[in-house]
């Protein structure tokens, strides 16, 4: 019998991060509709710059039920000005429909303060450009300090750290119970997220096979056919 070859992109649920749509940045209703056109099941609302967060909070405060089965918000990682405690309270005020709040561990000044985000807090493994949070050993103290937090596994970041993906496998083994969702893309030479290449789809397949039960979020558009 032919064993079915499950394309990575046949995974369900798979959606897209709104950060992909640079031209619509700040226009949350449009961003949500574009993301919904890719998948009505899952999306990540990207508020990477701190200045975007208040507008996102305002939008979510008045928007009707967005009806995504899994809704993630990527917390600010740049343009940080407000004190950390204030940022945490802003993130905490995200409506309960937001199931995941993705935070970069290298931006945390006092990790334990993030306990206020409870189970919704999700830490993302980082790439070579960042000072920490890149490997299982570097993430471990954060996840120990934050026992309710989960892991957002960024496969491109894991490959950037270790092209063999042994470290990626190690992350998935060590934090098996903590995995919440996956970021899927390739990286260009500058470390920016680009469409998943044919080569990376093949190379990433074994680690992504271990993540078939969680939502996947594309961090770049699908490649052109």
């Amino acid at each position: 019998m032919l064993a079915p070859r499950l394309s990575l992109l046949d995974h369900h649920p798979i959606g897209i991060a709104t950060g992909v749509f640079v031209e619509a940045r700040g226009d949350w209703p449009t961003l949500v509709e574009i993301a919904r056109g890719v998948s009505p099941f899952v999306t990540e609302l990207t508020a990477l710059s701190e200045s975007e967060l208040p507008y996102l909070l305002r939008y979510l405060g008045v928007a009707e039920d967005l009806a995504f089965a899994y809704l993630s918000v990527h917390a600010p990682s740049k343009g940080r000005k407000v004190p950390e405690a204030e940022l945490i309270e802003m993130l905490r005020s995200l409506p309960s429909a937001v199931e995941a709040i993705v935070v970069h561990p290298d931006t945390m000044v006092e990790p334990i303060a993030y306990r206020r985000l409870g189970h919704r807090l999700v830490l993302e493994n980082m790439d070579m450009r960042k000072a920490t949070g890149r490997t299982a050993d570097e993430l471990s103290p954060y996840l120990e300090a934050l026992p309710a937090a989960g892991l957002c596994f960024d496969v491109a970041h894991a490959a950037n750290i270790d092209g063999s993906l042994r470290e990626g496998h190690h992350l998935l083994t060590r934090f098996a119970d903590r995995l919440r969702h996956v970021h899927v893309s390739s990286l260009d030479a500058s470390g920016h997220h680009v469409p998943l290449t044919v080569r990376d789809e093949r190379v990433f397949a074994p680690v992504l096979h271990r993540c078939r039960d969680v939502p996947w979020i594309l961090e770049a558009p699908l490649r052109e056919p």
Partner: protein
């Protein structure tokens, strides 16, 4: 660590999870001790050669907590008659006493005739009670006394389903359809009960999302796995699978279909739920909830999250492994 084929699948899966699956393992030990105690209490009862006292629910799943009900019946694999030993009164004096009493709907604490379970599959005489007895017998039961009569009755029902299966590499569709029908019946009955009486809505809803789903998946998945088998291997496969608790069947599927990580997360979530069930304060909180106020309860939010994690793993097993074409072929129509 090497395993012989008798190592329960749940223990093999637990090795891949930091901290194991302690609540499930402890619940099994607790159930085994309680079963031994029960058998000693029942040993003095007269039992007809064709009768057995059968336990269901958390007894059958081997997930007993201090707060579990005793859902039981006397199953007779013989001709209908007035006097059956043990009598319902004799069994009722030992099982289902006080707060452990089975529910009000006369599903349990009754006599059940194996002939009705086998001869009335579908159509008018297969009422809710008959369907429930048959499904729970097949998927979530264990004998207390009369084990040989129980085994004969159980295989008689299985053979009733398999009589329709005549070809290799075809799963037993008659059995599959009945299991799927039962799951949908449970879900529909949940709303029906809610409309009559929303007493203990929160706890019932939590169980629907978790334990009832395990009951269904524990039947669905082994049946779907029969698709790979020649006809003469289906019966021994199902006997072996269904003789184990549902969590073993599910764990075995995750391991066999190369989805160990998803299995760890799925049954890890279920393990946490089993731990919650043993918490009396939490049970009382869930019991007090209604559909309208449940979202305000942190405990209910936790249960929903665990249930979603569990379901995500089961869906990955069904739709993202080599089982997927079989699911597509058989599970909808």
């Amino acid at each position: 660590m090497s395993h012989d084929s008798t190592t329960p699948a749940i223990e093999r899966l637990a090795e891949h999870r930091a901290g194991g699956l302690p609540n499930l393992v402890e619940a099994r030990s607790r159930t085994d001790r309680a079963q031994d105690q029960l058998r000693r209490k029942m040993a003095t009862l007269d039992v007809d050669a064709d009768a057995s006292v059968v336990l269901f629910g958390s007894w059958g799943r081997r997930e007993l907590t201090e707060h579990s009900d005793d859902d039981w019946l006397v199953l007779v694999n013989g001709p209908a008659r007035e006097l059956v030993r043990p009598t319902l009164e004799e069994v009722g004096a030992v099982l289902g006493v006080g707060t452990r009493k089975p529910g009000k709907r006369a599903i349990f604490g009754v006599l059940s005739w194996c002939g009705d379970l086998v001869d009335n599959i579908g159509l008018q005489d297969d009422d809710n009670r008959n369907l429930t007895h048959r499904m729970l017998l097949m998927l979530e039961s264990t004998p207390s006394i009369g084990a040989e009569a129980y085994d004969r009755a159980w295989t008689r029902v299985l053979d009733g389903y398999l009589a329709e299966s005549r070809r290799d590499r075809r799963l037993p569709r008659f059995f599959l359809n009945d299991v799927v029908r039962y799951w949908r019946t449970i879900a529909v009955d949940f709303v029906g009960k809610q409309r009559e009486d929303d007493h203990k809505w929160g706890l019932r809803n939590a169980k629907l999302r978790t334990s009832r789903k395990v009951l269904f998946a524990g039947g669905l998945i082994p049946i779907l796995r029969c698709h790979d088998l020649p006809r003469d291997r289906v019966r021994p496969f199902l006997i072996e699978q269904l003789s184990r608790p549902a969590t073993d069947r599910i764990a075995d599927a995750f391991l066999s279909l190369d989805q160990t990580d998803a299995g760890v997360r799925c049954l890890g979530a279920y393990d946490k739920w089993i731990g919650m069930l043993g918490d009396e304060t939490l049970r009382r909180e869930l019991s007090r909830l209604t559909a309208e106020n449940a979202a305000q309860s942190a405990a209910y939010t936790d249960v929903r999250r665990l249930a979603n994690d569990m379901q995500a793993g089961l869906l990955a097993l069904l739709f993202e492994t080599r089982l997927a074409p079989t699911v597509r072929e058989y599970a909808i129509f």
